[in-house]
């Protein structure tokens, strides 16, 4: 009889626990966000860096980070969603738009994600965001800079990063500043000495839209373009492109490249002892950690457009704190791309917290009304606030210059905006002897 009672007790406890446990776990709910990055293929190095930064940010949101002085680092989950944790589900699109679209469908329909983030390549972001738009699922883009992305009238797409039009304007403001003597450490350069520009841009969506924008701004600011080149970022050899650039003898060489082609281009130009006065790269390959690591002092004087430079950490507390955690874990400083990945996940967290729900419509409303203050971002931006097209209107770009220091190491210094300059500008570009 006694044993029967024990069995009955056990059964009741078991049934009770079945009822109670789900309630206990309810607080530990996960919010799945699908993140599409190029984790293999030509842009794999960048993709993996982006993945790390996104994972680190999710970890800060989920588990807290005592040394980081922003509210998000104390949340330990999304406060308005009962402390629910963010779970990032990564998908590798390899830089292929059709693969990106298929993976987006998998994330939305099979993995049942609340929303999407990514996809780095503007061409992939186009197909992924089209899938998100069809299914009415929010997508926050962290680092695709093709201006066209926010000119499509999409209702489910928001972009935290400034786009290439904004960045290219910065380039021409810097060139103009050089001719007007506004640049730190350089006397005004006569405009005729900087008149002729040449560009070589990789030929996908990203590079070709930068090329077009450079042409427009050159006209507006009164510069000539003497050579226009579009090339394949996967090309195993860039000798003919480099020869064409050298032959044109431009005053400034402008590039839009991913990592492998940026490395190849500089090595080829070095081999030809190419000479120019101004050497600028439009972010992407030029500002990855591996770019400086691989080329070392060969890039003394090279400029890169970016949105984040390690020096920002000296002037911005939160940037320094998050950068310290990233560097401790992965050995590198945050870059423009990885810092934007941090902001991407952060924007997702703020949007979810403001929406107080995982319902797409609530998130849509939250994104449209979102306003993340400047002091809570790692970026030197005025904040994150989207306009009616989904574009963040408070972002801004930086231009950095790789400079060889007295200890022989290469460091990236801010040279634009002029008021944030951290070092004298090296002009003209020293080139390769």
């Amino acid at each position: 009889m006694k044993s029967h009672r024990w069995i009955l007790m056990f059964f009741l406890v078991f049934m009770g626990s079945l009822l109670i446990l789900p309630c206990a776990f309810a607080d530990e709910k996960e919010i799945k966000i699908g993140v599409l990055y190029p984790l293999s293929g030509a842009a794999a190095a960048i993709g993996r860096d982006l993945q790390r930064a996104a994972e680190l940010t999710a970890d800060i949101i989920n588990n807290g980070a005592p040394g980081v002085d922003i509210p998000m680092a104390q949340w330990k989950g999304i406060p308005n969603l009962g402390g629910a944790k963010i779970k990032l589900i990564f998908a590798d699109h390899r830089g292929e738009p059709d693969r990106g679209a298929d993976l987006a469908k998998r994330l939305i329909l099979d993995d049942k994600v609340v929303g999407l983030m990514g996809a780095y390549h503007s061409s992939v972001t186009k197909t992924v965001s089209a899938v998100a738009e069809r299914y009415g699922i929010p997508m926050i883009n962290d680092s695709s800079t093709s201006p066209a992305l926010t000119q499509r009238g999409f209702k489910w797409f928001w972009r935290a990063t400034p786009h290439d039009e904004m960045f290219n304007k910065d380039l021409f403001e810097l060139l103009k500043g050089l001719t007007e003597g506004k640049v730190k450490g350089v006397k005004a350069v006569p405009k005729k000495e900087l008149q002729n520009l040449a560009y070589a841009c990789e030929n996908t969506e990203f590079g070709s839209s930068v090329a077009k924008s450079i042409e427009n701004y050159a006209k507006e600011y009164g510069f000539n373009i003497v050579t226009k080149l579009l090339y394949s970022a996967n090309a195993p050899d860039l000798t003919s492109e480099a020869k064409a650039l050298v032959a044109a003898k431009p005053d400034a060489m402008l590039f839009t490249s991913y990592l492998s082609d940026a490395l190849l281009m500089i090595r080829t130009l070095k081999g030809m002892k190419a000479q120019t006065k101004f050497f600028w790269g439009q972010d992407a390959g030029f500002e990855m950690a591996d770019f400086a690591k691989t080329l070392g002092t060969d890039i003394d004087g090279v400029l890169t457009r970016t949105v984040f430079i390690a020096k920002v950490t000296k002037v911005k507390k939160v940037a320094g704190q998050i950068n310290a955690i990233y560097k401790k874990k992965y050995g590198d400083d945050l870059t423009g791309a990885t810092a934007r990945s941090v902001v991407g996940v952060q924007t997702w967290a703020y949007a979810l917290n403001q929406a107080k729900s995982t319902d797409p419509k609530a998130i849509q409303k939250a994104c449209n009304e979102l306003n993340i203050p400047a002091q809570e971002l790692v970026m030197p931006w005025a904040g994150v606030k989207f306009d009616e097209t989904g574009q963040n209107i408070l972002g801004r770009g930086l231009i950095g210059q790789y400079q060889k220091k007295s200890d022989g190491k290469i460091d990236l210094e801010i040279v634009y905006p002029f008021e944030l300059a951290t070092a004298n500008f090296i002009y003209p570009f020293p080139g390769w002897k």
Partner: protein, 332 residues
């Protein structure tokens, strides 16, 4: 009438093959009802699409024995015709796709005529070059969107005229119909006069010529048929992905993939391209997604993919179908 009968007549295949075809067809028919995930559905769509591409390639590459590595240019022509006609003039898919096929046919005649003065490796290299040149033109041609590509407008409601559906099931059945049209056509083609002529040319060009076969004309015809096949697939890609750029529809890697699937499955056999696509597409998509995304083993899928291709081609140059036939002979 005779041609339709021939296309539907599979009696020269073994009983096992016919039963397999019926089971396979039943599976394809009920697949969307089996409750598979959406990713599996996209993989099945890719499988049917690449089977169609492979069948096209098989006419000139398999039966004709010409190593053709430039099919992507015709995928591009099909895709761009559909996309541009839809964006510029809002012309429905059902009209723009046949126009794309006609343009591909015309272009393939123009390209094919000088191309078939070449033989062997020289022909293969020339096909790669023509494809690369066309891609470069599209990369820089602003009128067609240059490297930025073309985005098709998204229709909020399902639209049969413009082939826009939210659910992949519709696309699945549509590509399945195209797949069967391709399969029946190929079944007719292999028994047609041109089919026999091509096999003869493949075995011995001089002997074929001595029998009065116009070798160059036969090759051009087969090349154009192959181009029409892939242009149909290209048109489908445009409405399915809603975005095309020269990199996604004209890249050399796409040409190689098309040839590889047919060759690995078994060139010059009706089932070869289907088997090749059934083998490589899921391998590529599932392994890439599973190892690269979920498990963090980035790049491992490439190694497995490459190793399998090497093993199959080293063991049996006639591909997987060759292995199956070998096993069957051993069994009997």
């Amino acid at each position: 009438m005779e041609a339709i009968k021939d296309a539907l007549n599979f009696s020269d295949f073994s009983r096992a093959e016919r039963i397999s075809l019926i089971i396979f067809s039943l599976f394809l028919l009920i697949f969307p009802l089996l409750g598979a995930g959406s990713f599996t559905k996209t993989v099945m769509i890719q499988f049917l699409l690449f089977s169609l591409f492979g069948m096209g390639w098989n006419t000139i590459g398999g039966y004709g024995g010409q190593v053709e590595l430039g099919k992507a240019q015709y995928v591009g022509i099909g895709a761009y015709t559909v996309a541009l006609m839809m964006v510029w003039w809002k012309i429905p898919f059902w009209f723009s796709m046949p126009v794309g096929v006609l343009i591909a046919l015309g272009y393939s005649f123009i390209i094919g005529y000088p191309l078939f003065r070449l033989k062997g490796h020289y022909f293969a290299i020339a096909t790669i070059c023509t494809s690369l040149v066309l891609k470069d033109i599209f990369d820089n041609w602003t009128l067609v969107g240059a490297a930025k590509g073309i985005e098709l407008p998204i229709h909020e409601h399902p639209d049969f005229v413009y082939m826009q559906f939210k659910s992949d099931t519709y696309y699945y059945y549509f590509i399945m119909v195209l797949f069967y049209i391709g399969l029946f056509y190929m079944n007719w083609f292999r028994k047609s006069k041109l089919g026999y002529q091509l096999r003869m040319i493949k075995d011995d060009e001089d002997a074929a010529e001595s029998l009065g076969i116009d070798i160059r004309w036969c090759k051009i015809k087969a090349y154009s048929i192959a181009s029409a096949f892939v242009a149909v697939g290209g048109g489908f890609m445009a409405v399915y992905n809603l975005y095309i750029d020269p990199t996604s529809v004209m890249e050399l890697s796409l040409s190689i993939k098309i040839a590889l699937m047919a060759m690995l499955g078994g060139a010059a056999s009706l089932w070869g391209p289907i088997i090749g696509a059934a083998f490589l597409v899921p391998l590529d998509r599932f392994l890439g997604s599973w190892l690269g995304g979920y498990k963090g083993l980035i790049g491992v899928d490439f190694m497995i993919y490459a190793a399998l291709i090497m093993v199959v081609s080293a063991y049996q140059p006639r591909g997987i179908w060759g292995i199956i036939e070998q096993l069957r002979k051993r069994g009997s």
